[in-house]
Symmetry: C2
Subunit: 169 residues, 2 copies
Amino acid sequence: MRASAVPARAAPSFRDRPRSDDVAAIRRIVESTGFFRPDEVAVAVELVEERLARGIEASGYHFVFADDDEGAVGYACFGPIPCSLVSWDLYWIAVEDAARGRGLGRELLGRAEAAMRAQGGRAIYIETSSKPQYDATRAFYLACGYRLEHVFADFYAPGDGKAVYSKRL
Amino acid sequence: MRASAVPARAAPSFRDRPRSDDVAAIRRIVESTGFFRPDEVAVAVELVEERLARGIEASGYHFVFADDDEGAVGYACFGPIPCSLVSWDLYWIAVEDAARGRGLGRELLGRAEAAMRAQGGRAIYIETSSKPQYDATRAFYLACGYRLEHVFADFYAPGDGKAVYSKRL
């Protein structure tokens, strides 16, 4: 029998070293989700710019990228919490809208966890909003083995609490 | 009857604008407590240096100082949490060992709270260690009307959790 006429998607490749074209890629990825405000997009872009300018130690920003043939289609950004010997923060994780539904987010998160663990991380913390808009985000973290530690009510704004998830490594 | 021969202490005065001599004063205050490691003292000093160099908006560091005739004998440092419209962090509060027992810590905290409230703050968060060494610190926050929101176990190191206190303004 012939193989399907639908072209197979190439499996993504992964890397941890940012490149200069990731600045535009991260902007495209984050904007494509339709989820972030312009000031939030600007923060996402600043993190990779700071990493490119200052290096991994000075910036404290670690990355994992998922690439297709044309560049990054998803990424995670994370780093050690300054005053802790063992705890790391996941700052950002996003997959380009057109690349969703293939488990890329879960694979990026798993690779980020492995990188943290290899560098002495023993726990990961993730902060997100308690608003209904973030229901799917929070469900994703629970599905990936995170547990809800606490909700700080009205933290970001009245009616917008901060939910903190953690996972032991 | 004669008044006591013990000279009355002048009431402290308060100010919110840092001066260049506060760099040395903060080092002296923080070291006098016998509570902080050298790297923690360095962080305390860096906060006021950054405020003096970059100003209040760029640094995000707000202060209240308690002065006697010779300069600062206690201070609090606090600032708005970047991604929040309403929440502030108390970064540091310390009173010189020789000036303790006069309620200066409580007065500094009250003045810091009033300053946050006046600038739109509606909640204050304080993070501290769950270790027994910090029992008196945590009792102070409870006595000042803070409530324990959550303890993140093993956050700073194995056996050293992060206790988070909050107070509505």
